[in-house]
């Protein structure tokens, strides 16, 4: 009935319908139990080959995808940019074609440029899963965030969600904005002015608000999602200093008190303690940062299962 996500590639949340998103989340719910077993392995994807192609550093996401593949009995290979032929001058498409010649069933790709997974999807016979492309999308992160919210709030529709920080550079924010508005949440974004685009009309039509200050965004929120300050982009002078950022935009206990009393706090990691989030908040019971990581494995198992599960039609 609600057979989710028939397309093989997962390039972004933007292209999915609400029903497809719910289908992936429901499937992920049912995979969770496997991660609690003594023997955390099922034979489902035995004989399938999955390549993790990471052009950007990543510990959490790559490990999560790798564990998801292994727990489904797929064979997974990790390729990171430092050891790849790209550094020897090969083009992206040639790399993809060469990998394709080894008949993988799925390629999980992360790249610092938006649109790379989409390019690969055009040339590759394997299913392509986007593990983060530039500032565009990070679909599995939004899915695991949604799973965490659903687990604690039992719903997504009607919730007030504040997304705070560097919205401009954040693929996590974009995927979450798509997902949460499609599922009926009200999303309010806030951060330093140069880091918050004024106009999201190209992204979504409704239920998205831009707030000038973080207090206004957090007030009455059910969910507060804090984004990582991308220190590697700090040279570009989007805000004066990290110290000032912490003072004006960091999530302190005091600011969190403006949210609903049962509000939950999410952060995609890795977090800069004392900058975008105060340690006392990060370590409090309101913070579900480790739950997010836990659900990440189940979400990625569901995505790999649905992407490689042998769809009959290949058009």
């Amino acid at each position: 009935m609600n057979k989710p996500f028939r397309r093989r590639d997962l390039l972004g949340i933007r292209h999915l319908s609400a029903a497809e998103i719910v289908g992936i989340l429901d499937t992920a719910e049912n995979f969770r139990e496997i991660n609690q077993r003594e023997i955390k392995k099922v034979p489902t994807l035995r004989g399938k080959t999955i390549i993790n192609l990471f052009f950007e550093n990543s510990t959490r996401t790559r490990t999560s995808f790798e564990l998801a593949a292994k727990r489904l009995s797929a064979d997974s290979v990790n390729i990171s940019v430092l050891s790849s032929a790209i550094t020897k001058g090969e083009t992206l498409i040639d790399t993809a074609l060469n990998l394709d010649a080894m008949s993988p069933d799925c390629i999980v790709v992360r790249h610092s440029s938006a649109g790379v997974p989409h390019q690969l999807a055009k040339v590759s016979k394997a299913a392509i899963v986007n593990a983060g492309d530039g500032a565009n999308e990070h679909p599995t992160q939004a899915l695991l965030d949604a799973m965490t919210i659903r687990e604690h709030k039992k719903k997504i529709k009607g919730l007030n969600v504040a997304i705070v920080g560097d919205i401009l550079h954040s693929r996590v924010a974009r995927s979450n904005i798509h997902l949460l508005t499609k599922l009926g949440a009200k999303v309010c974004v806030a951060g330093p002015k140069p880091l918050v685009p004024n106009d999201f009309s190209h992204l979504v039509e409704k239920d998205l608000f831009v707030s000038a200050n973080i207090e206004e965004a957090i007030e009455g929120a059910d969910v507060v999602m804090i984004l990582r300050i991308q220190r590697e982009r700090q040279d570009s002078a989007f805000f004066p200093t990290l110290r000032e950022y912490a003072i004006h935009y960091g999530l302190t206990q005091e600011r969190l008190n403006l949210a609903k009393s049962d509000a939950i706090v999410l952060h995609p990691g890795p977090m800069n303690r004392g900058i975008e989030i105060a340690s006392e908040v990060a370590d409090s019971s309101r913070s579900l940062i480790l739950d997010q990581v836990k659900y990440g494995v189940a979400v990625r198992m569901a995505v790999l299962y649905l992407a490689t599960g042998g769809s009959a039609s290949n058009e």
């Binding site: 499937t27 139990e33 569901a302 649905l306 599960g309 042998g310 009959a312």
Partner: protein, 189 residues
Amino acid sequence: MADKVNLVEKSRIMDSSRMKRALSRLASEIVEDNQGVKDLYLVGIRRRGVPIAERIADRIEELEGKRPLFGILDITLYRDDLSTVGANPIVNRTELDTDIEDKNIILVDDVLYTGRTIRAALDQLMDFGRPRKAQLAVLIDRGREHRELPIQADFIGKIVPTKKSEIIKVMLKEYDDEEAVWIYERSST
């Protein structure tokens, strides 16, 4: 996806009272064979094995004054036809909350046909531990000639010899609007 197939109702081989009696008999056979409820662990196979296992557990509780342990298997992830079934089958949850180690497991399903579902269930079961023994109870056995694996049931509600072109449908109030077992014939017109 599939060809257009019409199902023609052929006959009703069980109504609700016959089903009830068959399940009562299965319940007594299971406790007799296992000498009571101690370490007895009923495991229903999704979907229709689950309500059948629940009813057998109810009857055992009436007979023995104690309810056996209870669990649910979803075998989707252990199927041997994942690459050929086309679209992805929906995954449901497996619930084995009590450790199966050293228990007497009774797998329960509605219909035994090729035996492939039971193979998948056994594989999954073994991933959870080492039961003392595992037995199989089914409401309907379609006959040994259909078996594609060396698997037989220990407790059988009714043996119904069938042709390959026939389909057995076990209707349960949890999912359908009546309680009955029907034989249908496939006719491709």
